[in-house]
């Protein structure tokens, strides 16, 4: 009997040049390993999406970043599902042949994986994504027509009653740019990731249903020096399969309002996962300044584990932000810490040196 499920949140922020997880789903092995020693793993599309590649992890919850922030704040709960009915938004700025490639990827996911994808909508205007890099070195971007994106989502929700939305937007090919060359060689920052996050955040924030994004791009010229970390994005025509697989079992979001109205509240309460369930958070050591980590670090029952060798462009380590974290060198070490925590063993007792007991002074001097 599990008295308290051991729940771990794994975060690798999107578009900040994480040396592990900043490329084509290359933190997926970390997620798989952590899932093995957790009852529930909560993580986000940037960790699990490997374009054509993905891996079904039965105890992993695929939670988009905006929803993860709301979950960590205690505003939203996560309701596991057996399957979501998925709708697809295609950017009308995608060329007809490339649109067809994506529709065929959807058909493949329906026929070969059994996913429930019923309808798609072409946006009523091209989304016109533009890419930028910030002063800190993070990628970001804009969409010229966010209202067109939201109208398409509204149509899928109201007319097709979908429970999750996959978005494919046409992104600039940017062939020949230094940023793209670096990315393909396993260096630098994913130039697309920041803009992708804006797209999914907009839909999740507005409609409170699971959403993830795949960019539409033309195939790149063959590169014999392609990094293994980036290779998953160069073995097919679309990046959509992983998104559809992830969304098919992504948890629904239970906001305070919807929970009150739900007639089946009792059943939901037995399954609903709230921030109180979180036992540990694993995060790159230099990227502790996001909303979710600042929210969760305030809870004394949550162990923050900061991983040193997952370098990022950020300069926000836990000690500078007032976050009490256990600093480790690697994910291998983090997994060891998680095993100790799950076993009820203080990680400090596994080292050679054990610090002496502290004697707290009694300032009131009462006897």
């Amino acid at each position: 009997m599990i008295l308290r499920p051991f729940t771990v949140v794994l975060i690798v922020p999107t578009g900040v040049g994480a040396s592990i997880g900043g490329f084509a789903g290359d933190a997926l092995p970390v997620a798989r390993a952590i899932a093995q020693i957790s009852d529930t793993l909560i993580t986000h599309p940037n960790v699990l999406n490997g374009a054509q590649l993905y891996w079904p992890i039965p105890n992993a919850l695929y939670v988009e970043g905006y929803a993860l922030d709301k979950f960590a704040q205690g505003c939203w709960g996560l309701q596991p599902v057996h399957q979501n009915r998925i709708g697809l938004i295609l950017d009308s700025g995608i060329e007809p042949d490339l649109q067809l490639r994506h529709l065929q990827a959807v058909d493949a996911s329906r026929a070969t994986l059994g996913l429930n994808i019923t309808d798609y909508v072409l946006t009523d205007a091209p989304l016109n994504v533009e890419l930028r890099m910030s002063e800190s070195g993070a990628s970001w971007g804009t969409i010229a027509n966010p209202d067109s994106l939201l109208r398409a989502a509204e149509k899928l929700i109201t007319q097709a009653k979908v429970q999750a939305i996959a978005v494919v937007a046409r992104f600039p090919d940017d062939v020949g740019s230094l940023a793209l060359a670096n990315y393909r060689h396993g260096k630098g920052v994913d130039p697309l990731a920041g803009a992708e996050a804006v797209i999914s955040h907009l839909i999740v924030r507005t409609f409170k249903i699971p959403c993830a994004h795949a960019p539409a791009l033309l195939p790149l010229p063959l590169d014999p020096h392609l990094s293994p970390r980036s290779a998953a994005e160069e073995i097919g025509y679309t990046f959509l399969s992983c998104v559809l697989a992830g969304l098919s079992k992504a948890p629904q979001f239970v906001t305070q309002g919807t929970e009150e109205r739900d007639a089946d509240r009792e059943r939901k309460h037995t399954q609903l996962i709230t921030k109180d369930r979180v036992d540990a958070v694993v995060i790159p050591a230099t990227a502790c300044g996001g909303s979710a980590i600042l929210s969760l670090s305030g809870r004394s029952t949550v162990q923050i584990i900061a991983v040193g060798d997952n370098k990022t462009q950020m300069q926000a380590p836990p000690e500078k932000l007032g976050i009490k974290a256990l600093q480790v060198n690697s994910y291998l070490e983090a997994i060891g810490v998680l095993v100790a925590l799950r076993s009820g063993i203080s990680p400090a007792s596994l080292g050679a040196d054990i610090s002496p007991l502290r004697c707290l002074s009694d300032s009131t001097k009462q006897i």
Partner: protein, 67 residues
């Protein structure tokens, strides 16, 4: 609706939760915070550098065909 990129400096707080609240308050001056992160910390000046997006909202506009 439009999205805007914002860079700001926020005073460091005693706790991470207070810092979270201070960042949201600062970004709300520009719109509804959509995504943000502390990207750097200046310990000497006790400042956190924040980058993020905010949303300036209007009701979802009708489609061009019906506008």
């Amino acid at each position: 609706m439009t999205t805007h990129f914002i860079s700001a400096e926020v005073d460091l707080s005693d706790t991470a939760e207070e810092l979270h609240s201070a960042i949201e308050t600062e970004l709300q001056k520009h719109g509804e915070p959509l995504r943000w992160a502390v990207t750097d910390v200046d310990v000497d000046r006790q400042k956190a550098v924040v980058e993020g997006y905010v949303l300036l909202e209007s009701p979802i506009a009708p489609s061009p065909a019906t506008a």
